[in-house]
């Protein structure tokens, strides 16, 4: 799929450095996030920045955007040494950043978000003129965006365009995009890459942080790999190979599918832990998002749900997890009718749910790591007795979560919000799996935002659970991942289950056809 993501990399950029970062050092309590980093951005290039979770990519970009002050090092922009004290300073120099999480006011319109405190505005701005200006920029990049729409009503792809507009109207020509594709559908990603290429042609420079090597290979002109706070590789993309990049990211040792090889024989079909029949679920827009879905997950089996996003997968999974009330149909968990049961009851009956967007739904960022663990376990012995929490026991299990799931942190007392994106996900998985023994694990996009090694680790955990007899239902946008993991693959289209394909019969081509046309082809059910 990587070839068609982009037409062709642009002409060789002229090698005038626009930004030079030299000897950048940034320490946080307990970690050196950036260790003498040299990083150069040239005019008109798309520069991919790769690295595992916690490698220091976001920190480096935050420094260039004036959010953090480096402990040492110099930054030159267009040859001039600069001191960046705030994002305002960076913007004035033409540097703009789009964060991993959107920084937008959902209750306000697009035009209000873009022109918040914009310098050129008079006391009473001419809003209609500003709106047409946005329309102009949007059409230049081929976006369909209504300047008067409320941002809360936009899709992730459109929100990202609003973030870009904020930077573009302020004349940014150095754009730092932190994992912009992690929230996008494949189609939205395509649009973004087209936009980026267009921008590069206009002479703008773009830094693209991503965990997907195929994206880096297909869209970038230059690629830099960070590892543990240092730059370990930086070269033109056309001279780099995927193997070389992934080796650089993890530090030499090659990663493979070793952990997944011990796949036992096909599990017993007659031990279902989850049976869904005739399930219909209402979506947020008031139309049925899931129609008449049937689904079975057996003990010791991984079932993957594949589909272009927006075809009812998330609603199906949320209904199973008790977060949405079904309109029709029945859900059985271990032989018990649990249709409409509360999430808490489902949990007690052996269902564990890993929500999507962990940073938003899975943790309380203001609380420490062990307090976040306590949130999950505080109701149960031995973590609490008669409503009084035993913090020593909680700290013990939190320590176990952190070490077994390799959450990269200096202490369990750190704020959960200070963890890097990938580490948040490890914390959530670790917390759920260390503190309960589920018979059914439902995981929505569990590897989203994770680097290769961490994703691999998550997949390994899922396989291990499977061999321990747990039924696993996993939702993923990554077809390769679904193919690698699943014993059976359920394909959804237009809210319906359009086919069930067994491991071995499934190919990317077959799934692709089913996902995009909704025809079951010759798949066996």
């Amino acid at each position: 799929m990587s070839e068609d993501l982009l037409a062709s990399p642009g002409p060789a950029p002229t090698l005038t450095p626009k930004v030079e970062m030299r000897g950048i050092v940034k320490r946080f309590p307990g970690v050196v996030a950036n260790d003498r980093v040299d990083f150069t951005i040239y005019a008109g290039e798309i520069h991919a920045l790769l690295g595992e979770n916690g490698a220091g990519k976001t920190t480096l970009m935050n420094i260039l955007y004036g959010i953090y002050t480096p402990d040492a090092g110099v930054i030159r922009v267009r040859g001039v040494p600069v001191r960046l004290r705030s994002p305002r300073d960076a913007i004035r120099l033409g540097i703009g950043m789009v964060h991993q999480d959107f920084r937008l006011i959902e209750a306000h319109t697009v035009v209000e978000n873009v022109f918040l405190n914009y310098d050129g505005l008079g006391f009473i701005p001419k809003w209609s003129a500003l709106e047409s200006r946005l329309e102009e920029i949007a059409s230049n990049y081929g976006w369909r965006l209504n300047p008067r729409a409320r941002v809360g009503d936009l899709s992730p792809g459109e929100k990202q365009q609003v973030e870009l507009l904020k930077l573009l109207v302020r004349g940014a020509d150095i754009l730092l995009l932190d994992e912009p594709t992690s929230v996008l559908t494949p189609i939205e990603t395509k649009v973004l890459f087209k936009t980026m290429r267009r921008m590069a042609e206009e002479g703008k420079s773009i830094v693209l942080i991503t965990h997907k090597l195929s994206e880096a290979m297909s869209v970038s002109d230059r690629v830099t790999v960070m590892r543990r706070g240092r730059i370990v590789l930086s070269k033109p993309t056309r001279e780099a190979t995927i193997e070389e990049l992934s080796a650089a990211m993890v530090g030499g040792q090659l990663i493979g599918n070793a952990g997944l090889e011990e796949r036992p024989t096909y599990p017993a079909v007659d031990a279902p832990t989850l049976q869904v029949s005739g399930l219909s679920v209402m979506g947020d827009e008031g139309v049925l998002a899931v129609r008449d879905a049937d689904l079975t997950v057996n003990r010791g089996e991984i079932v993957g749900i594949a589909g272009v996003s927006g075809n009812g997968q998330i609603e199906l999974v949320e209904a199973i997890a008790g977060l949405r009330k079904p309109v029709r149909g029945k859900i059985m968990l271990n032989g018990l009718d649990v249709t409409g049961a509360s999430p808490r009851r489902l949990m007690e009956l052996g269902l564990t749910y890993i929500p999507p967007e962990g940073k938003k739904w899975g943790i309380v960022p203001e609380l420490s790591i062990y307090e976040n663990v306590a949130l999950r376990v505080a109701r149960y012995k031995p973590y609490s007795r008669m409503g009084v929490i035993n913090w020593r026991k909680v700290a013990e299990v939190a320590g176990k979560v952190v070490s077994e799931f390799r959450v990269d942190t200096s202490s369990i007392k750190s704020r959960a919000g200070s963890l890097s994106g990938g580490n948040v996900q490890r914390l959530i998985l670790g917390r759920e799996l260390t503190t309960s023994k589920p018979s059914l694990l439902v995981a929505a996009y569990p590897t989203k935002g994770l680097d290769i090694a961490a994703s691999e680790q998550v997949r390994r955990i899922l396989s291990r659970l499977r061999s321990e007899g747990v039924g696993v239902l996993v939702l993923s946008e990554d077809l390769d991942e679904i193919l690698e993991l699943s014993d059976r693959i359920v394909v959804m289209y237009g809210g319906r289950v359009v086919g069930v394909v067994r491991r071995g019969e499934a190919t990317p081509e077959l799934l692709g056809i089913m996902m995009s046309r909704g025809v079951a082809a010759s798949a066996s059910a």
Binding site: I67, S86, P87, R88, R103, L104, I105, E106, A107, H108, E112, F115, L116, N117, Y118, L121, G122, F123, I124, P125, W127, R415, G417
Partner: protein
């Protein structure tokens, strides 16, 4: 329709507007304050301070000075609120309630005959002291807009009122425009939604919150002045009778829009004046308590209805009530 019922409707509308203006001035100001992310539960106390200030200053220097002084006293209380809640980041609920008690206590003290007399003597020795003991002040004169006041039914309600009624309406329109059409209003609303984001965009979060609290409090002071010299120019203790708290819930009812606050305030002004007229017309005479509860019951019912209509998502400013500090 009989002539009598027509004039009854006209009378109700007129007193709806004059009673509603108390709420209008206070809740329009509070819309601005809350849009910046600060809730001012001190409205009740500040209103009481505005009322007592207008009583004494009217006697000493006349109406205009009284209104300005009430605004000034309100602004000072606002500064105190902002200092505690914005700079020291104390809990806004606690700060607001403390200010309410402070304002109620201080105004009762100033209104005591001996104290009021001394204050008046100190401010303007040429005014006869006994005026303060009468607990009365001249009412604001009506300003009749000759031509328009003749319109049947609504003419008297809208065009035969005192200057503060017109000023209240004008301030609602003006503040709506400022909030929703100007650069500064956008910054203010952004501070109320996401102060950290506004801060990184270069908006001075602290200055905006201070100003928003001071504007809202000054208007609460003026609302108190109106309550006394424009509505009921006879001083009694507890003159405000929870009107500050009703104004607070009217802010929710108008979903934080000064324009909708006009409708909400006049509606409640109407309910309040009905409360006095229903017994006159015969029923409810034996159970006045029930009728006195009317405005409060209607407040609760409408709030519940709004909450249901918006599916539990009342569109409050997202950062309402949350102190902001720079470091993380």
């Amino acid at each position: 329709m009989t002539l009598e019922s027509l004039s009854f409707i006209e009378a109700i509308l007129t007193s709806a507007v004059s009673a509603g203006t108390i709420y209008l001035i206070a809740s329009v100001g509070e819309c601005v304050t809350e849009r910046s992310g600060v809730i001012n539960l001190g409205l009740e106390g500040i209103m009481a301070m505005g009322a007592i200030t207008s009583f004494i200053i009217t006697l000493a220097y006349g109406h205009l000075a009284a209104i300005l002084a009430a605004a000034l006293v309100g602004a000072v209380f606002g500064l105190l609120h902002a200092f505690l809640s914005v700079s020291l980041r104390l809990n806004q609920i606690v700060v607001g309630l403390a200010i309410t008690w402070l304002g109620l206590g201080l105004s009762a003290f100033m209104g005591a005959p001996e104290v009021a007399r001394e204050l008046l003597k100190a401010l303007n020795p040429s005014v006869p002291e006994f005026l303060a003991e009468l607990k009365q002040a001249p009412r604001l004169p009506e300003v009749r807009v000759e031509f328009l006041a003749g319109i049947p039914i609504i003419g008297r309600a809208l065009f035969s009122q005192n200057a503060l009624v017109y000023a209240g309406l004008a301030s609602a329109v003006l503040l709506w425009f400022i909030l929703f059409r100007t650069k500064w209003g956008l910054s203010l609303r952004s501070v109320g939604e996401n102060p950290a984001l506004a801060d990184t965009a270069g908006v001075n979060v602290f200055a905006i919150r201070y100003l928003a609290v001071v504007i809202g409090s000054a208007l609460a002071g003026v609302a108190g002045a109106y309550l006394f010299i424009g509505y009921q120019p006879f001083w009694v203790e507890n003159l405000t009778r929870s009107r500050g708290f009703i104004a607070l819930s009217l802010v929710i009812l108008s979903s934080w829009s000064p324009l909708r606050a006009i409708a909400a305030s006049f509606l409640f002004g109407g309910v309040e004046s009905l409360q006095f007229r229903i017994p006159l017309r015969g029923f409810g005479a034996e159970t006045p308590q029930l009728i006195m509860m009317l405005p409060y019951i209607i407040t609760i019912v409408t709030l519940v209805l709004i909450s249901l209509a918006s599916k539990g998502r009342i569109p409050a400013p997202a950062a309402l009530g949350k102190p902001y500090s720079r470091e993380e």
